[in-house]
């Protein structure tokens, strides 16, 4: 019911990529991951409505859609912040001191791994391995990969792009 509403109102264009993916796989339940993936790409996260929509369209029980979505790390259920910082915590980065970067970012901006600042400016995640181990430690800010980072360089980079008045960690710059 809620799903139907979203379909007819705000969903008509937003859900289009999801419809296309489902059509491409002929609503085959084996393509559930592909469909969820395109949903996340289209909306930025998986809302309750979209899970219900997928469940009804593909004729897969909601419990299974939810079960699959929560199993995989790549799916998120909360909207992302305006800017996104991903810190690699793979082995090579770990050995080269990525822990200090994680600590610096979460202390400076007051958010933990997987969280977004209250005003929605910055999201921060850690990643298992970005596969650029030769250049550790690696950090990705808004899709841009930076190599051989330090706590200071990362914090400064974030301040430069994401800082706004009310955000924690930005005070001393004002």
């Amino acid at each position: 019911m809620t799903a139907d509403k979203s379909k007819s109102s705000n969903g008509s264009t937003l859900y289009k990529p999801i419809d296309l993916t489902m059509k491409r796989y002929r609503y085959n339940p084996t393509a559930l991951l592909e469909v969820l993936n395109s949903a996340q790409q289209a909306l930025g996260f998986l809302s309750e409505e979209v899970l219900q929509y997928v469940s009804e369209s593909m004729n897969v029980p909601l419990s299974r859609v939810y079960g699959v979505a929560t199993f995989y790390h790549m799916f998120t259920f909360k909207p992302k912040g305006e800017h996104n910082c991903v810190i690699c915590t793979g082995t090579a980065c770990h050995v080269k001191g990525t822990d200090h970067i994680v600590k610096a970012v979460s202390e400076t901006f007051g958010i933990n791994d997987g969280e977004t600042t209250p005003e929605g400016k910055l999201s921060f995640n850690t990643a298992r391995c970005l596969g650029s181990c030769g250049l550790a430690p690696v950090v990705v800010i808004d899709g841009e990969v930076s190599a051989k980072q330090t706590p200071e360089s990362v914090v400064n980079k974030i301040k430069k792009i994401a800082c706004s008045g009310e955000m924690k960690g930005c005070e001393e710059d004002e």
Binding site: N28, L33, G90, H94, V95, R128, C133, G134, V145, S146
Partner: protein
Amino acid sequence: MNKTRLEELGKNELDRQKQFTHRIFGCSSTACVSAGARSTLEILHLAVKASCCTEDEVEVVNTGCMGLCSRGPLVRIETAGEEPVLYGDVTPEIALKIVARHLPVDAADADKDCKELGEEEAAELFEIREELIKSVGVEDLDEHVISLDIPFFTRQEKVVLSNTGYTDPEKLEDYLAHGGYQALIKVLEEYTPEQVCKEILDSGLRGRGGAGFPTGLKWDLTRKQQAEHKYVIVNGDEGDPGAYMDRTVMEDDPHRVLEGMIIAAYAVGADHGYLYIRGEYPVAVDRINQAIRDARRRKILGRSVLGTDFSFTAEVRIGAGAFVCGEETALMHSVEGKRGAPRMRPPYPAESGIFGYPTNINNVETMANIPSIILRGADWFAAIGTEKSKGTKVFALAGQLRQTGLIEVPMGITLRDIVFEIGDGIPGGKAFKAAQTGGPSGGCIPEQFLDEPVDYENLKRLGSIMGSGGLVIIDETTRMPEFARFFMDFCVDESCGKCVPCRIGTVQIRNLLDKIIHGNGTLEDLEKLDKLCPIVQKSSLCGLGQSAPNPVISTLKYFRHEYEELIQVPETEET
């Protein structure tokens, strides 16, 4: 048969490449891109345009990984009749100097008109030309030239990576020009499926995903099954932190993976295949998809492959970030659109895999070995390596080393050679402490075993595993209990929760490690670890749990004193 057409395409491409006096290869692999390769490549393309060379004299190729990732962005210049020159740390400014040094940039030709270009582009080119002319003769590039005679390059033996860094991965013709799909043609013309399995078995190739099961045997098991459908899967769910071999092969030589897969399908009698690629590797997904499209257009994939009566289709499935999906039964569940939880074996995938049909699963690197084995023969392959481990292995060499990057070495090379020759030793005057192989499923190998040859059996004997190829070197500054906890944290997160020993055991091990690291541990806790680790190893359902305690066991074995130092001295000893 379309075979002659393929050969013609390859030959034409080779002729086309030979006409250039200069070919400039810019590494566009992920590591170099993180180091800024995109702007380097952009300026290279512009600079060549701005030089006085015509388009049929010079070509800039965006190519795959050249190996020495720590010196990225890398650029190599091949000039007809000269030795190739490799440059490292190539910023856009350095790229201009390289062009100024190698290409005939002529000051007299400074006004070469740019009429055909738009105004903005012409102005930009003009600026670049000015820069180029200024650089001629004064370029100081000595510290950027990387000798190709250093052990990093000479000690390697390239099979799987033979094309990466030399071809354009997005171009089927370039793969054909380097002998691509010749193995497939040979197999379709000369071999029965049974003969293919035998050839691979004779070569001694073992699974490169880590467990080391003989590939030929696996294929033969699937081949013998009678079924309406059979499937082939390429496992590209490279989840080990510190490993990026499979990503590089998929990104930089996608057709090689595809060719190996099609040969596997012919050998086992499969009609459809999946390439399961980690979601964190969008470039690999794009390149493989592109390769599938190009192969389909040339009738290398699809109904009646190259005009024979063998048909095979392939598609990509994207993983969504679950380490356990590297396990074959979990991976199959994921391909079916379910939670990626493993199941009991038997039945093995060869008997009952995807949708209940016989399925053959191989790792990316395993598949990438196949074309070379078919073309050069099982005997050639079997001559490389040790008695039980044949061929080469690709390692992602990382950690506290002077030179890190992607290497391919013959099996049986010693760790010492890898660390001190290829990796050029530990920087900053620090001492080597351990080599960690196999990621969270592997262990730490201490200094006294540096001269042991690297092969499946030896690494296992030393308490580690070959794994998929992550090789992280740590120096004296890393404390082992914390290093072990790092891996346990990973396993706690990644445990799928299906079986108790793994779900609860990993958490208990982590808690014990935490207690010890925070200085609250007792000798009894150490004993608990000694007991608990083997229990988790023996009673877990799948490879994840069975190998999760390895980092703890191996560090307890070789670096026990570091744990003991953290444990408060009992009162009796204080007096």
